[in-house]
Symmetry: C2
Subunit: 199 residues, 2 copies
């Protein structure tokens, strides 16, 4: 059996999708949470200088989505055809593109508010309407069973509402999907017991 | 046999990786190049409002990397194990992250120069050193045969040198890899005959 070490900071952030998949699949792993104070010392040893990284049997994989796709493949969460895989990958990247636009590190609070307002007023509706169209009245985004993009939606949702409480209020099917993911017993258990962090 | 329509603008940009894979695999496709003047009319009909999109047998896939990964899988260019797939995905995303940092749309030429200088002085060496480490003295980034991340390196290289001519001069193994990709007969043929565009 493989051994897995996932290294990230003590937050959900870019590691939480991998943690959902680990929880869902019942795979044991080391959930290593690096303290900020130790990061400058550790950073030079990390490929491409970014967390998360995951060590699988001594091999290091970097990039959060590469890690998550790897685990999703192990867990049977990548769709049932290469077309479904591609549709899932595309939705994941669209959610990720939005996440990347969030001015996480903007120190000027007034500018940050302005940038966030612009993002949630103008970009979010495009993303959400297209996600809602893709979901329609199905249970899951792609195919007839849960995949890793459904998990990613819940992970993103949980963080986006900390930035704008009602951002998805007009999309009942997307809200229902979030509830459906959070009701999966292994995910519910993880959410209940995970370390509580703001992001 | 499937029919493929790839829609993008008349530039290499985010469609060129897919075009390399089509060329390499000898797959026929419609290389649709939308004129800027027509884009506002077409845009509302495009999922997530972004090009490229690819239509495969009537199904539309969005997101450049999802499209390219799909084609790479068809063409046998995704690596030989799920670990190789993940290593390739990670390198692709690291190259893509750098591309995303380029201030493509900055109108202020002085600010643009400053941002580009910062990017190529400070970020590029981290990316390049890590890519060079990954490549080592092998012929290809991952495993023992060419994969889609080797193509992506050549695609990125071709555009990055238009921004800073000597950006990779200190990385002979990366330069040799670019030459190796461009010497693949199907790729050489495509590069010779493709529409000539700046980006
Ligand atoms: Mg990333
Ligand atoms: Mg993209």
């Amino acid at each position: 059996m493989s051994t897995y070490k996932l290294s990230y900071f003590n937050m959900r952030g870019r590691a939480e999708l991998a943690r959902y998949i680990f929880a869902y699949a019942g795979i044991q792993y080391d959930d290593i949470r690096i303290e900020w104070v130790n990061w400058p010392t550790i950073k030079p040893s990390i490929p491409f200088l970014h967390l998360p990284v995951m060590e699988v049997d001594g091999v290091i994989i970097h990039q959060s989505l590469a890690i998550s796709r790897y685990l999703a493949r192990e867990a049977g969460l990548v769709g049932k055809s290469i077309l479904e895989q591609a549709q899932i990958d595309a939705l994941v990247d669209s959610l990720n593109d939005f996440t990347t636009l969030i001015p996480w590190n903007e120190k000027d609070e007034i500018l940050k508010k302005k940038l966030l307002d612009d993002l949630f007023d103008n970009e979010a509706p495009v993303l959400l309407q297209n996600l809602a169209n893709q979901l329609g009245n199905k249970d899951w985004f792609v195919g007839d069973s849960v995949t890793w993009v459904d998990f990613y939606w819940d992970v993103c949702f949980t963080t986006f509402i900390t930035l704008r409480q009602d951002f998805a209020a007009n999309y009942p099917n997307l809200l229902a999907l979030k509830d459906r993911v959070e009701a999966i017993p292994e995910i519910a258990e993880w959410i209940k017991n995970r370390p509580q962090t703001v992001l």
